[in-house]
């Protein structure tokens, strides 16, 4: 019963997971002129992935086949671990290039790993409650930054004189779908673990909120830099935020965006590690069921 009370917390957690490292990395360096079309398809694909993942998870209980469950849980554990490592290494790359280029990576890695380890080892309620704080700050920061940069937007970057063709759009969509949409497959596993709720409401609305914020970040970069220059930037949102002047001269918002990224990277890494441990423990139960006396 207690777990069900965390539905709204899970909404925030799912939204932060959706933001992940994409918040600062979109559009990726392999994107091209039509990255906004690719992104639009990737956003749509995210919901499809979420739906399919729920279906696969539901099938587990319907079929009741041990092998099927084992494959599903193993895949979830491996993919969650892969996502945790990817999120962690991307954060280190960001620190190395942008945030603290003069500081050895080792120290940052230690701080990040310790914080993640702490979050992962604590009760689920810790990460869920922290997500609420981080989500509110992230949403406020992203919306504020979007509003402040509107005056510099150049709508020309979104104009196209014809549909580029399915092949070109697919070329843009595939890498985005792999990095933005596919991780959504983990959300149903997390929902089962964190809130144990049959309701898909919080997972879907949380994902939608995260994607909505991601759209704002993506639009910021494209409207300011155009698709080509955005793709050339290592961390487009970090570059975009450096163009916004809040007050006279250089009172800038860089720190805010760096904080948002730290929060989303931390939550995503801890979230993925939790799913990995959860899947492995379920896998163990699958083969060695607990004996009741």
């Amino acid at each position: 019963m207690e777990k069900a009370d965390y539905g709204r917390h899970f909404f925030c957690l799912a939204a932060l997971f959706a933001l992940g490292e994409s918040v600062i990395g979109l559009p990726y360096s392999d994107s091209g002129k039509y990255s906004f079309l690719g992104f639009a398809f990737a956003v749509a694909a995210s919901f499809a992935v979420l739906g399919i993942s729920y279906f696969l998870l539901k099938s587990k209980s319907v079929f009741g086949v041990k092998a099927y469950s084992a494959v599903l849980l193993s895949a979830a554990a491996v993919y969650a671990l892969y996502n945790a490592v990817a999120s962690f290494t991307e954060f280190l790359r960001f620190v190395d290039k942008i945030l603290l280029p003069d500081t050895p990576r080792f120290f940052i890695a230690v701080i990040f790993v310790l914080t993640c380890a702490y979050l992962t080892s604590r009760k689920n309620s810790v990460i869920l409650k922290l997500s609420v704080i981080f989500f509110v700050l992230s949403a406020a920061g992203i919306i504020l930054f979007f509003l402040l940069s509107v005056k510099d937007f150049n709508t020309e970057w979104f104009l196209i004189n014809r549909f580029p063709g399915l092949k070109a759009v697919l070329k843009e969509t595939m890498p985005m779908a792999a990095r933005v949409s596919l991780p959504f497959a983990l959300i149903p596993f997390a929902a089962e673990f964190f809130i144990n709720s049959k309701s898909k409401k919080y997972a879907f609305t949380g994902a939608a909120a995260g994607l909505g914020l991601l759209v704002l970040c993506f639009a910021d970069c494209i409207f300011l830099f155009g698709p080509q220059l955005s793709a050339r930037c290592d961390f487009p949102l970090a570059a975009a935020v450096s163009t916004v002047t809040v007050g006279p001269l250089f009172t800038r918002m860089d720190g805010l965006v760096y904080c948002i990224y730290f929060a989303t990277a931390l939550i995503k890494t801890a979230f993925c590690l939790k799913i990995c441990f959860f899947s492995l423990s379920k896998l163990k139960i699958c083969f060695y069921p607990l004996k009741t006396h």
Binding site: V95, P101, N154, E156, R232, T243, F250, G255, F262
Partner: protein, 335 residues
């Protein structure tokens, strides 16, 4: 208790990681670069750095600016030379202006843009300007701020507000156009007179080469033709109109004869049919003059028409110069 500790831990770590503390902590031990200038004599690049010198030992001494210059076969080499004559490292994060010499070659301009992109410390919102002699401009005494670079930034913003010209010359705006394959971009053109530096219209660059400098009055008409005029004052000799752009549309014709047609809808006080005709004549005259002076398209019509008409892009991708060479320009203005 655990919850509180966890939140505090995260907040502390966030604070440690998420400021630009790495740079700021050292900034009082660095020399701040307020503007960079570049000129070339072919093989070598001349780099000028306006540096704000603060004596941290004596807070009573007011900061002063000095321009350091060095030449080298690479930009980083020239900056290293400047750095070797300083007692402290340079802090590039607050560079407000990138001044480009008028004799800059396309090759060096490309290298400057690449350098500014890869050098993370140079902010992408620095203004790019064009000037005959960057050293002379940056060496002028600043009047309203700590350094000439910040004065220049203020002049551009103030001039833009007054004339209605959006200069679109911040580094990221210029680089976005170059990266998207647009051939034309403009920079504010500065001159150094006896009264000090002033904005003297626009410098038009094509394929990274300066092709012409326009006066302030011509710059207004140029902006109307390229669709970048939003609201401001247009002058034709003694006549002056305060106008607002309502609608801009471009058409082309290549059936009987080649034509580029600009349809404008402007509004403003006293802007009647006579003034419309005056504006049309002014725009067509600027088109003819630039066409004969420059010899090719200085307005970026190819980019504008290609974006609107896919068949134009297909037809004239490789033969645009032939089309433009024989194309008349017609401005149709409505109030």
């Amino acid at each position: 208790m655990k919850k509180i500790i966890s939140v505090i831990l995260i907040a502390v770590v966030s604070t440690l990681l998420c400021g630009c503390g790495g740079e700021n902590a050292k900034s009082d031990r660095r020399y701040m670069v307020s503007s960079l200038g570049f000129s070339t004599d072919g093989a070598l690049i001349n780099v000028f750095a306006e540096i704000i010198i603060v004596n941290s030992e004596d807070p009573e001494t007011s900061p002063e600016t000095k321009v350091f210059a060095a030449s080298a076969p690479t930009i980083s080499g020239a900056l290293d030379k400047i750095g070797s004559s300083l007692e402290r490292p340079m802090l590039l994060n607050h560079c407000a202006v990138i001044a480009i010499g008028e004799k800059m070659t396309p090759l060096w301009l490309g290298k400057i843009c690449d350098y500014c992109f890869h050098e993370n410390r140079i902010t992408m919102s620095a203004y790019m300007i064009s000037v005959e002699d960057p050293y002379k401009l940056l060496s002028e005494k600043s009047r309203s701020s700590a350094a000439k670079g910040y004065d220049i930034m203020g002049m551009i913003e103030q001039q833009s507000e007054r004339t209605g010209l959006s200069y679109n010359s911040r580094y990221f705006e210029v680089e976005a156009r170059r990266e998207a394959g647009k051939k034309i971009f403009t920079l504010p053109h500065f001159i150094c007179g006896e009264e000090g530096a002033s904005v003297d219209g626009l410098s038009v660059f094509k394929d990274d080469r300066l092709i012409t400098d326009l006066s302030n009055d011509d710059s207004g008409c140029y902006a109307v033709i390229t669709g970048e005029f939003e609201k401001g004052t247009l002058r034709f000799g003694a006549e002056e109109y305060r106008l607002q752009s309502r609608k801009v549309d471009y058409l082309y014709s290549d059936t009987d004869e080649n034509k580029i047609i600009l349809k404008l809808r402007l509004s403003g006080e006293n802007f009647d049919d006579k003034a419309c005709k005056r504006l049309e004549d002014g725009l067509e005259s600027l088109y003819d003059r630039l066409k004969s002076e420059v010899g090719n398209d200085a307005f970026g019509f190819y980019d504008i028409l290609s974006l609107k008409y896919s068949e134009f892009e297909d037809k004239y991708r490789s033969e645009y110069d032939n089309f433009f060479g024989s194309a008349d320009f017609i401005a149709e203005c409505r109030s």
